[in-house]
């Protein structure tokens, strides 16, 4: 008999209309349909969601935390991307 483990799925829940799906955790299931059904039982027992996404954990590509400084550094020295960088003369409104 196969001792093979069920694959791992990452679960994303939309808690209500107008909001993004958000990662809530993971679970094991043999296929996508059962992953959705198990996700309902594990992660939405108290009406926490109106929509579920599941994706095989192996299919997720993540950035490497040890490379985070280089990866995100380009944004750090561009303060002019923020509105607070600019002086607005007194008396100007709606800006």
């Amino acid at each position: 008999m196969s001792q093979q483990e069920w694959p791992l799925w990452e679960v994303f829940i939309r808690s209500k209309k107008g909001l993004n799906h958000k990662h809530v955790g993971s679970l094991r299931a043999p296929d996508a349909q059962l992953a959705v059904e198990n996700a309902r039982d594990v992660y939405t027992r108290r009406s926490e969601g109106i929509s579920i996404w599941v994706v095989l954990s192996n299919d997720i590509v993540a950035s490497d935390p040890s490379e985070s400084p280089e990866l995100f550094e380009p944004a750090d020295d561009k303060v002019y991307r923020h509105p607070t960088f600019y002086d607005v003369p007194d008396g100007i409104s709606h800006m």
């Binding site: 008999m1 196969s2 001792q3 093979q4 483990e5 069920w6 791992l8 955790g25 993971s26 679970l27 094991r28 043999p30 296929d31 059962l34 039982d41 594990v42 027992r45 108290r46 993540a62 490497d64 935390p65 040890s66």
Partner: protein, 338 residues
């Protein structure tokens, strides 16, 4: 030529000699940076570098916690078919289902550390990894459902609330979810106790009997005294643990005694009394011999609990294999028709 050879050999020796301290130096640096993150309350996430001991400590603690949730279903599952009415039965079912859910959140957290879920479960069955000793006590009457919800879940909440601020992200997030659900568990238990205490003399006696049997084991749930707790200091430094065993135990006693008084129950501890100078209750000596006996496998239900869990895994094997085979067949079919 010979000089060159000697030089090369010397260089190799030099590299070999310098490598070990270099690696140690790097490790020290990484550990220092890691501790700085912890001190600044920056959460550790699965792919971040972490000391091997931190990883192993978490795998041990989270898997023990997961096993406790799952084994914890057994003593209460014992009463589902005998709940006194439909409302109580629906509530107990929902509670036991929550415990299964809590186990699953925690197994999912332990997997983020690179541990294999099935291996951790096998470690439970072989006795290598423990679970909360409280679940090795039998549930002899319906009142035990009340005492467990009130005291055992109450103690669990005391333990788990500080864990919501644990330094390891996935564990902390799982605990937030667990704590939200746990307060219903405690209230439903207290409701059972209230009803019994307001009932007939026999019902009140049932409640007192359950309280007598679960009071001391509930106090033991916080673990050994701080002086005897071997992992405490390091876990506090790593912010895996945020309060000590004795602090949490005292906190539990201080909030629970007035609740017991309100129910009109007698606390089974002759030494228990309010201490005005400390603003805490003083209490009697815990029977640590009993605690270690139960932890080491000699409690009233240890063998029964492990047997039930092992059987559940073995008997479910063919279902898991069949579901997997079915999924593979479906995938093949979709491939062919595409």
């Amino acid at each position: 030529m010979l000089i060159l050879f000697v030089l090369i050999v010397l260089k190799h020796i030099f590299v070999l000699l310098s490598c070990v301290p270099m690696e140690n130096k790097n490790l020290e640096l990484l550990e220092e940076k890691f501790q700085q993150k912890i001190d600044q309350d920056i959460k550790i996430e699965p792919n971040d570098w972490m000391p091997d001991n931190y990883r192993q400590t978490l795998i041990r603690q989270i898997s023990q916690h997961a096993h406790s949730e799952v084994v914890g279903m057994l003593p209460e599952g014992n009463w589902i078919t005998r709940a006194p009415n439909l409302r109580r039965k629906a509530v107990l079912l929902a509670k036991v289902q929550d415990e299964a859910g809590h186990g699953l959140y925690l197994y999912s957290a332990v997997e983020t550390l690179g541990a294999d879920r099935e291996d951790t479960i096998d470690d439970l069955h072989s006795g290598k990894v423990k679970y909360s000793s409280i679940f090795n006590y039998p549930t002899l009457s319906w009142a035990d459902m009340g005492a467990i919800g009130w005291l055992v879940d109450g103690a669990a909440i005391m333990n788990q609330v500080p864990l919501c601020r644990c330094s390891y992200g996935p564990y902390a997030r799982a605990m937030v979810r667990v704590c939200k659900e746990e307060s219903f568990h405690q209230r439903q238990g207290f409701e059972i106790m209230t009803t019994l205490c307001k009932g007939t003399l026999e019902q009140k006696a049932m409640a007192q009997d359950a309280f007598n049997r679960f009071w001391w084991p509930a106090l033991m749930m916080f673990g050994p005294n701080d002086a005897d707790s071997k992992h405490s200091a390091q876990s506090m430094k790593w912010k895996i643990k945020r309060s000590t065993n004795d602090e949490l135990r005292q906190q539990f006693i201080d909030v629970t005694v007035p609740q017991a008084e309100l129910l009109g129950l007698t606390i089974p501890d002759a030494d228990l009394k309010w201490n005005e100078s400390t603003n805490h209750y003083d209490f009697g000596t815990i029977n640590w011999d009993e605690f270690w006996q139960v932890v080491n496998g000699n409690g009233p239900c240890n063998a029964e609990r492990i047997e039930a869990r092992t059987k559940a895994k073995e008997n479910g094997l063919w279902v898991r294999a069949a579901a997997m085979a079915h999924a593979e067949k479906q995938r093949e079919r979709t491939k062919q028709s595409a």
